[in-house]
């Protein structure tokens, strides 16, 4: 039996205590090399811990309870794995200027991100959420440029408003539940007189982090402007905190709310397609990726909508959401890291590099035999309109296909922008190791990671073979469109 409790504590305390390394300027080089160590206890918990247990900390805040369940375990796995690879990348990426400050904010943001995944009481959850938000500001504005400061201002302003919405929503929910534990909130919200208000506050408050349309303005500014490893964790891991916030507070499985489902489908569709459309207009590769994250969160919002609309499906939908989170987080992390990589001079190495940069992107679009194909197929399975009793459910398959095409278009746009920007040269070992481990975990390790247990067990390889064409044609359509666009652009020159 894996002794989880000390590791859960260590997972949060290690990054927090590491801040002591900032006491001396001369220790900052050591601190740089410690960054990949910080998420390791959390990764162990994610890999080895049994599900459904809690560590009670009665003296903490208003009474604490930490632990992992099936859903949180997947989030924890993604969070720890991505921060680990990005930590390795950061060793090679960071310059000495303000290194110490960056390490401090990195560690604090990490502590918040890991803590919020494991927190099962409202006060700790909200504390870690706030820690991640406020410490994340230090990552966004790190470069100190005018652009970074502007992005930071927008980030902070929207984040604070979001925090307040969350606070008000949680206060009302806790008051009704008569309990400070997250698990008691959904049932209380489900029967609340002012259910709409509480849900609206929580959806909007967490929606700021998740990049919902109209609450997203900070995201395409802040994600690209941060140092690359920070961009990767912002877009890969931290964006999911908003999603997790929804999953653990809203009344899933308690009551079917078709009207909310319809509304959220619309929001998700706008996010998925609108985010992609705006992303196509971006010239900087990281900005394209940031819009792609908005678009992907839109697709995940569709699943949240379905789960909210039909309570009996929520358990299995949660498992699929978790799978999607894992897939998107790793792929997006790898894509962001690749923006800082220089292309090797040799012709073959160059093409190999392009291939490995493109593959996580193709995974996002659902290329067969990638993590994305599995996520898409599982998603298609649970979003069958027949079982979901709300009006807009009929449009879900079409939306998913449109989303896949939009995603692939964005990936072409990204590769184009990256090609226009790319340097030729060498990369330091840290960069290589970080990028390669992110890419490998996205493409290969994914298949060995413990998948959410609620997922229907399938021979995924055979299913993908059978469904190859349905997965492939959106990719091909998008490629065709991209080719036409490329031709037009060339001719205009």
């Amino acid at each position: 039996m894996f002794a989880s409790a000390p590791f859960v504590l260590l997972a949060v305390l290690l990054p927090l205590v590491s801040v002591l390394l900032a006491l001396r300027t001369s220790w900052q080089q050591a601190y740089r090399y410690c960054l990949p160590i910080l998420p390791m206890p959390a990764l162990l918990v994610g890999l080895l811990a049994g599900s459904d247990w809690g560590l009670e900390l009665p003296g903490l805040l208003l009474g604490g309870l930490w632990g992992v369940d099936e859903l949180r375990r997947v989030f924890l796995l993604l969070t720890a794995a991505l921060w680990l690879t990005c930590g390795v990348f950061a060793i090679g990426y960071l310059k000495d200027h303000n290194l110490r400050r960056f390490c401090v904010f990195w560690a604090l943001t990490l502590a918040g991100n890991l803590g919020l995944v494991m927190a099962q009481d409202v006060a700790s959850f909200y504390s870690f959420f706030a820690l991640m938000t406020f410490a994340g500001y230090g990552l966004v504005v790190h470069e100190g440029t005018e652009q970074a400061n502007r992005a930071g201002r927008v980030y902070l302003a929207m984040a604070v408003v979001g925090e307040m919405a969350i606070l008000a929503g949680l206060l009302m929910a806790v008051q009704l539940a008569g309990s400070g534990l997250l698990m008691d909130l959904p049932a209380a919200i489900a029967v609340a007189d002012r259910r709409w208000l509480i849900m609206l506050l929580l959806l909007a408050g967490f929606g700021v982090k998740a990049g919902l349309p109209l609450l997203h303005f900070w995201l395409p500014l802040a994600h690209p402007v941060a140092p690359t490893p920070a961009s990767a964790v912002l877009s890969g891991a931290m964006i999911k905190a908003g999603l997790l916030g929804w999953l653990v507070t809203l009344p899933f499985g308690e009551v079917s709310l078709p009207a909310w489902g319809d509304a959220l489908v619309m929001v998700g569709a706008v996010g998925a397609l609108g985010g992609a459309a705006l992303g196509l207009l971006q010239a900087r590769p990281k900005a394209v990726l940031a819009y792609s994250s908005i678009s992907q969160m839109g697709l995940m919002t569709l699943m949240v909508a379905a789960a909210l609309a039909s309570s009996e499906h929520s358990v299995v939908i949660f498992a699929v959401v978790a799978l999607y989170v894992l897939h998107h987080g790793l792929a997006k992390g790898s894509l962001f890291l690749s923006t800082a990589m220089a292309l090797p001079p040799g012709r073959w190495q160059r093409w190999a590099m392009w291939l490995f940069i493109a593959l996580p992107g193709l995974a996002l679009a659902g290329l067969p035999f990638t993590s994305g194909a599995m996520a898409k197929l599982a998603m298609k399975d649970v979003l069958k309109p027949s079982g979901l009793g709300f009006t807009l459910a009929a449009y879900l398959p079409a939306l998913m296909t449109a989303g896949a095409i939009a995603t692939m278009l964005l990936i072409w746009r990204f590769l184009w922008a990256f090609g226009a920007d790319a340097r030729t040269g060498t990369n330091s070992p840290g960069l290589w190791l970080g990028w390669a481990s992110a890419t490998v975990s996205s493409l290969l390790l994914f298949w060995w990671l413990p998948l959410p247990p609620g997922l229907p067990v399938k021979p995924w390889f055979a299913v993908m073979q059978a469904q190859a064409w349905s997965l492939l044609w959106p990719v091909l359509v998008a490629t065709l469109l991209a080719g036409v666009a490329w031709q037009i652009a060339q001719r205009r020159k």
Binding site: P58, G59, L60, L61, L62, G63, R101, A123, S124, Y126, S127, A130, F134, G138, V141, G144, N149, G152, L156, V160, V161, E163, M164, L167, A168, L171, M172, V174, Q175
Partner: protein, 498 residues
Amino acid sequence: MTLSTLMPVFALLTSLLASVVIFALPERGYRLRTVINLAAAGLKIVLVGVMIWGVAQGREYEFAFNMVPSAEFVLRADALSMLFAGLSALLWLLTTIYAVGYLEDSPNRSRFFGFFSLCVASTMGIALAGNLFTFFLFYEMLTLSTYPLVVHRGTPKALRAGRNYLVYTLTGGAVLLLAIAWLHGLVGDLRFQEGGHFAGVDPSLHGPLTIIFVLLITGLGVKAALVPLHGWLPQAMVAPAPVSALLHAVAVVKAGAFGIIRVVFEVYGLEAAEAMGLLTGLALVAAFTIIYGSTRALYQIDLKRRLAFSTISQVAYIVLGLCLFGPLGVTGGLVHLVHQGIMKITLFFCAGNYAETLGVHRIDELDGAGKRMPGTSVAFTLGAFGMIGAPPLAGFITKWTMGSGALAVGMDWVVAVLVLSSLLNAAYFLPIVHRLWFAEQHQAWPHERRWGRLETSAWLLWPPLITAVLMVLAGILANVPFSPLSWVELIVAREAAL
């Protein structure tokens, strides 16, 4: 006379005697004065600690005699008085340490520390006072002992601020005296009593009691800086930093707030005050003060002035909490008495450090100060986030409890006030934090001094670090026995039991 009778007297005498001895000491007796100061402060912490322990066990410490016929002088240690006494004993020690470092080489230190101890003695008296009459004596003593501290620098600006302070506080005192005398004439000498005196009082008395309540709150509201009685506070920040720290965190504004607590809880009684409809008006005044203070703070460019307006806003939280007349809301208000004290004293210590070490007074001069003074800036950052109410710091505990309390009694609009105030707090504190850590220093510090290896004198550095740690602990360990929150829950349970 047993020991338990004399404990409150001893607690009072430690600072009173220290004050007398310090006045008698020659100006250059630096070392002896510091030793006496610290010894007295340490002794007081021990005495108060013993009483806190005793009160938790259910013991009572009371000292009383008839001063004039029909007016008793009562010193009493109950759970509520220990909340305030504990806070002031702790912060007195830290502020004394700070003041020793701050006033190094400046003139008139003997006078300063004499009045400083006198001021703390008054605060202790206010905490321990067992009836309105005793309370009033110490309340006025506080006015007179703080005036010399405010004008300590002797500049025209300081003298003007001091005059203004006296006009406000003496007028407030007069109104308070009038109200107390009227109440005395109406119902006789009333001791503070858990649950209050006026539950089920003859309805014919409601009229005069309402007017007296308004007068009492007006008199106390001057020191608590409730709008529109707050005019003296922003000006009084010309005082030296340790004085501002003490004024804003424990001594003056808290004396007013504590008085309001005593009047609402233990003279009128929460239920009676609610039944007479006295609390709604007070809640509106407090809510307005919260928003007004925060809004004005937004426009200040002087660091200490911004902190002063922030105090106006934050102290009104305490009053607003009382008006929520449910156990949770009251808990939130009372616990903020301590939380605001620790947070605000941290911020004022830090402001003093920037001024003493770098010569920085204006907010726009703080660019890059985090690199030069990391310890102070960490403390300031924590204080600022605490004020915003960011979890898991002390301010969050306040906001969460008050918000829950407001919802429990159906006063949902209070949550909106809390949210709006937090947004305003973020708007005026976060830009400062940004300047400290993320802006590059673009000019030489106006007036820099160096102290060897440390960023500033150790006397100045440790107090804000300690209070910052206390603030974090008050939040993170809120559920542990003897945390401010647990103690306040004890008080509220005792108030409700009667």
